[in-house]
């Protein structure tokens, strides 16, 4: 802790104006002192790494190498888009994952929020139950679902029981056609409770009087939802869609634990590919370039969010 309480200024100012300035000055020093610990840490572990991510993207840096990094211009980016089919496949997989997860998770989260947005006996218990997977580590969830997805595992035996033996199920994670889908299911299962809570917070900002008025006008529950609830949820919707999109683009842990990108790269994602290149294969420069491409995608989403929220004002 390097915070020194501002010491009493040594100079005893005689004129009011000088005294005023020294108080201001003291406030400035106090401000610097109190922001310093966080400021230094943010510079070291956020700002510098961001600058490094940019800088290393244009070099051939390796994690452990006797030679210093050499500037290679746009080579890493050109390589990613022309000479690295696994990267392109990872971009495709990540896009598919996001396009499926975003609407499903947002929609399901809203449905759950509407269901639990009332005073009823036991409603808190349901909220807690729906939220339990969120506080369960995604590493644990991935291992557990890998176990359930086995050929003779729980999922297939449940499908078997529910369809009375009509459909045996498949080897979910070892089939290139189903592996990504299987990961989508558990990802939604794990995170949807989080967005239920966000939607619920949004629902509770809508004034009760609007519903009262709608009911006086004889609006059906469905009409109340489309005319009162949905318009009132617009800011929440933007936030939910953007957070899910950014999280979906960053898909990594499930892949790392469950499939390692397989079978035949059908579940490789951008972040997984960057980590594989940068860490396992030590190509830091190339991995930084991939991370930068990922960041540009996230930035684009965030800017679209700003556009959307601005229209509203």
């Amino acid at each position: 802790m390097t915070v020194t309480p501002p010491t009493v200024a040594a100079e005893e100012p005689r004129r009011a104006s000088r005294r005023f300035r020294s108080i201001k000055g003291r406030e400035t020093w106090a401000g610097f002192g109190m922001i310093a610990p966080a400021g230094i840490l943010l510079v070291l572990f956020l700002i510098v790494p961001v600058i490094l991510a940019f800088a290393l993207s244009f070099t051939n840096a390796r994690l452990i190498s006797p030679n210093p990094p050499r500037f290679v211009g746009f080579d890493n980016f050109i390589r990613a888009f022309t000479a690295d089919p696994v990267f392109l496949q990872s971009v495709g997989n990540t896009a598919v994952f996001a396009l499926v997860v975003v609407p499903l998770q947002a929609g399901l989260g809203l449905l759950l929020a509407v269901l639990v947005n009332r005073r009823m006996r036991g409603i808190t218990a349901f909220r807690v139950i729906f939220f339990i997977p969120v506080v369960t580590s995604i590493v644990v969830v991935s291992i557990l679902w890998k176990f359930m997805y086995q050929k003779d595992g729980l999922i297939n035996s449940m499908i078997d029981a529910l369809t009375f033996g009509a459909w045996q199920g498949v080897d979910w994670l070892n089939d290139p056609n189903t592996a990504l889908g299987a990961i989508i299911v558990l990802s939604i299962w794990q995170a949807v409770g989080f967005h239920m809570i966000i939607w619920l917070a949004g629902l509770q900002t809508i004034p009760e009087e609007l519903y009262e008025a709608a009911k006086m006008d004889g609006a059906s529950p469905w009409r109340q939802f489309t005319s009162v609830t949905w318009p009132g949820l617009r800011p929440t919707m933007v936030f939910v869609l953007v957070t899910i999109t950014i999280a979906a683009l960053g898909l990594f842990v499930q892949i790392s634990v469950m499939t390692q990108g397989g079978p035949v790269n059908s579940t490789s994602t951008i972040v997984f590919h960057a980590v594989r290149k940068g860490y396992a294969q030590q190509e830091i420069g190339y991995a930084a370039a991939i991370s930068l491409i990922f960041f540009v995608a996230v930035l684009a989403i965030a800017l679209i969010q700003r556009r959307l929220t601005r229209e509203k004002d």
């Binding site: 309480p5 966080a38 572990f45 909220r127 506080v135 509770q204 529950p221 830091i284």
Partner: protein
């Protein structure tokens, strides 16, 4: 919690299961049926969200042969048959789980604790004090909110590998380079957190400044005002930030996977991944995952109200 009593029917999806009611039925009966359907829908969802975890806890108590036997019946979810804690003892025999637990607790406590101090001080400086460059700093901090950790993870490995550090070798304190395989590499980068600073800044600006002015006149230093006035009044903000930083710290995976190769420094999540790769006994894997899930679940169930309101607060930042 202001629940809307008026909205008694859910949107389209669940309306489809609600049968159209004959007009002569009284509104009361209609409401009662609505309630019954609602409970059925909620229970179905409840089962979907709970069954994998129930399966995990139950399987952790059974030998593998029994798990396979039970998989085709409801017994998969029931602690019946050959129930014991053998899998748990097996995990402790095979890997230093207690050490992993200690590492994770240490990393989590220090990351959250130091984070509360450092980020709340920064929030105080940004919300309460007039200093040159305050608005620029605030703008930079808000701008960094959109940088996902995944973007900087790989360059950061390169960076921390070169940072100076102090090491003890043969009882002598030495100056060295490289943070890989240390505790600090798992803690220090995550202490300062832009989102926590943002939440503190927002919360502190809602507290009236008349209090600090009075204290200033009494000659209190700014640090005293922060310590004696702002901190005691900001319990909810501290609780929210603690909860929001506790889960990611406990669940650290990508980062320690890359920067910690020494087994004795591994956190639980990386430990479980290695254990899972070595091990084919599912019962033991389930015992390990149960072991690292139960503490968090207990904390969550005790503080569930605070958890839920923290998450809700994090969503209202837009």
């Amino acid at each position: 919690m202001t629940a809307t009593r008026t909205l008694t029917t859910a949107p389209a999806e669940s309306r489809r299961i609600a049968r159209p009611l004959p007009a002569d039925r009284s509104a009361k009966a209609q409401r009662r049926w609505g309630k019954v359907f609602l409970y059925i829908a909620l229970s179905l969802f409840g089962i979907i969200f709970l069954f994998p975890l129930v399966f995990m806890f139950v399987s952790s108590l059974k030998p593998d042969s029994q798990i396979l036997q039970d998989i085709d019946s409801a017994a998969a979810f029931l602690p019946v048959g050959d129930i014991s804690l053998d899998n748990y003892f097996g995990v402790f025999d095979r890997v230093p789980v207690a050490q992993f637990m200690f590492n994770s607790v240490l990393v989590t406590v220090l990351t959250v604790g130091l984070g509360l101090i450092v980020n709340s001080m920064a929030g105080f400086a940004l919300s309460r004090l007039a200093w040159k460059g305050r608005l620029v700093v605030l703008a930079v901090i808000i701008a960094t909110l959109i940088v996902p950790f995944e973007t900087i993870a790989v360059p950061m490995v390169y960076w921390v590998a070169q940072l100076p550090t102090l090491v003890i070798e043969g009882g002598v304190l030495k100056y060295d380079f490289g943070w890989l395989n240390t505790y600090q590499v798992q803690i220090v980068p995550f202490i300062a957190n832009a989102f926590s600073i943002f939440l503190f800044t927002q919360y502190f600006s809602t507290i009236p400044t008349s209090l600090d002015e009075a204290a200033r006149i009494d000659g209190a230093s700014w640090f005293t005002i922060y310590r004696r006035i702002l901190v005691p009044l900001s319990g909810p903000a501290f609780a929210t930030v603690a909860i929001l930083t506790f889960l990611p710290a406990w669940n650290q995976y990508l980062w320690p996977l890359m920067v910690v190769q020494k087994e004795e420094l591994r956190p639980v999540m990386v430990g479980v991944q290695y254990f899972f790769q070595l091990n084919t006994a599912w019962g033991e894997v389930m015992a390990y995952t149960s072991l690292i899930t139960i503490p968090v679940l207990i904390v969550f169930l005790v503080f569930q109200r605070a958890f839920v309101s923290s998450i809700a607060a994090s969503g209202v930042k837009g």
